[in-house]
């Protein structure tokens, strides 16, 4: 198997840079300390992407604007433009489609390309990778890193080696040992802060250390995750490049940070309703019904707690889900000011494969018909063409959660 991993370099920032240059902005913001950040007035003031010169000031993705401004006062800040990002991503995807029929959009800025059986037409994978990289640079104006490997994991790791605008390969055991093993264990995909800490304690500091260590030891330390990262360190990954519409989704969630701290229960419930409307709409679009409903609450002191309920039946009805969401909120909320709210649905079944009940079959059918009409109206006339009366003449949005009002490609390549 030959897989390519195509990843846009500092995606949000370089896409904004290309757009600004086209609009006559005098400076290429990729060459100066610059960052894309949310609006601090809406309490979204964190760094979303930064330029390579900004990295030298140790500005990290996800940190607050206040921190980064202190470290680098001359940092240039730009707001995100998600429509632009989606159009850049689509343009990149359409170029890749010319090279292979099997592509997985892993997120808005990265794709896996299955290059099996394509060699006859496009030559050796590293040559094709170089061609792709150059074409994207020439036609779309931004640079990408292309990693070529024998599986998805190696392709991704190769793509992360050195940036920007390069092609890397990990196609043999020798290359794996030379290029991957000397790296810090934290660099390995799926090794996070917590696992790295545990591994460092038993003197596993590089990916090579991890690959050469005893599997039994890792299993006892990290359970099944230990086996997974040991396999990754040895370049073993059997996951196939799966086009996005074939990826089975296990859960759906939406959350929102509110502009101010909410202290009123009625108000919080209204926000929950707008989130439920969004997430239930997505559930129905996926042709699924859920049986596990969970909520997450973050207080103004950044304490986060979650609460969930397993239902004895499956549902996709907004009102029904909302009723459970409200009771969950009532059970777990202790009255403190709320900063963030989230709703999560999982334990799915397909829409046409659930157990009917004798008692409320009529009600279910009526609810389904209503939801179907609402969804159809929204698809045809826009997401806010029809909404609940409680939101009329208020500042609240009838549908909350999701980036760019739900019109965006998320991590894992899911359309919201």
């Amino acid at each position: 198997m030959t897989v390519m991993h195509v990843d846009a370099n500092s995606a949000y920032l370089s896409w904004t840079a290309v757009d600004l240059l086209e609009k006559g902005y005098p400076l290429d913001i990729r060459t100066v300390p610059a960052a894309i950040a949310g609006n601090p007035e809406d309490r979204h003031g964190i760094i979303l992407a930064k330029s390579i010169p900004a990295k030298k000031y140790k500005i990290g993705t996800g940190e607050s604007l206040y921190e980064s401004k202190q470290r680098c006062p001359e940092l240039l800040l730009f707001p995100p433009n998600y429509d632009l990002y989606l159009s850049c991503s689509n343009a990149m995807y359409s170029i890749l489609q010319e090279y292979s029929p099997v592509i997985q959009r892993y997120s808005v800025d990265e794709c896996f390309v299955d290059f099996d059986h394509c060699e006859k037409r496009f030559g050796r994978p590293e040559e094709a990778a170089f061609e792709i990289k150059e074409r994207i640079k020439r036609e779309l104006g931004f640079t990408v890193n292309v990693g070529v490997g024998n599986n998805k994991l190696l392709a991704k790791m190769a793509g992360e080696l050195k940036k920007p605008d390069l092609v890397h390969t990990i196609l043999s055991q020798k290359e794996l040992e030379e290029k991957l093993w000397p790296l810090d264990v934290r660099e390995l995909f799926m090794v996070g802060r917590a696992s790295a800490k545990k591994l460092n304690k038993i003197n596993i500091n590089t990916i090579g250390d991890l690959a050469c260590s005893e599997l039994v030891l890792l299993r006892s330390l990290l359970k099944s995750h230990g086996q997974l990262i040991w396999e990754y360190a040895n370049g073993i990954d059997h996951d196939r490049v799966t086009p996005n519409d074939e990826v089975l989704q296990k859960g759906l969630s939406n959350s929102m940070t509110i502009k101010y701290d909410v202290t009123d229960k009625r108000e919080a419930e209204n926000y929950l309703l707008s989130l439920t409307d969004r997430v239930a709409g997505r559930l129905r679009r996926h042709q699924c019904k859920a049986s596990l409903i969970g909520i997450g609450v973050k207080t103004n002191g950044f304490v986060r707690y979650t609460h969930q309920i397993q239902l004895p039946f499956f549902t996709d009805d907004t009102t029904k889900i909302y009723r459970y969401v409200c009771s969950l909120f009532e059970e777990c909320w202790k009255g403190e000011p709320v900063r963030q709210l989230g709703i999560r649905l999982s334990e799915f079944t397909r829409k046409d494969e659930y157990q009917l009940s004798v008692f409320d079959i009529r009600q279910i059918e009526e609810d389904e018909a209503l939801n179907k009409v609402v969804d159809e109206i929204r698809d045809r006339f826009g997401q806010t063409a029809i909404y609940r009366g409680t939101f009329a003449n208020t500042d609240m949005k009838p549908l909350e959660g999701g980036i760019n009002d739900g019109n965006y490609l998320m991590m894992g390549g899911y359309k919201q």
Binding site: V18, E22, L84, A91, M92, L140
Partner: protein
Amino acid sequence: MKIVAKPIDVIATFSDNKKPIPYKFKFFRDSGDKIEVYVDKIVTVEESKLAGIDTLIYTCESKVLDESRLYQLKYVIEQYRWELYKI
């Protein structure tokens, strides 16, 4: 040529299955003067997809203030918008 990206008003001809052909455009200078230019010659037309935005770039030649100048016009297809791209 330098990028100016100035929005302009254009009179163009649209024929069947062909790219629009700019005929004349006007814009206002920073000083407020109105400038009207007839497109004398279209040298090249190129399709561009920079930043994923579909555009047509026309390299044109015209007499501006008694001087023959080469410049580029841009038509942003999705937004039906013209601009003086480079001059």
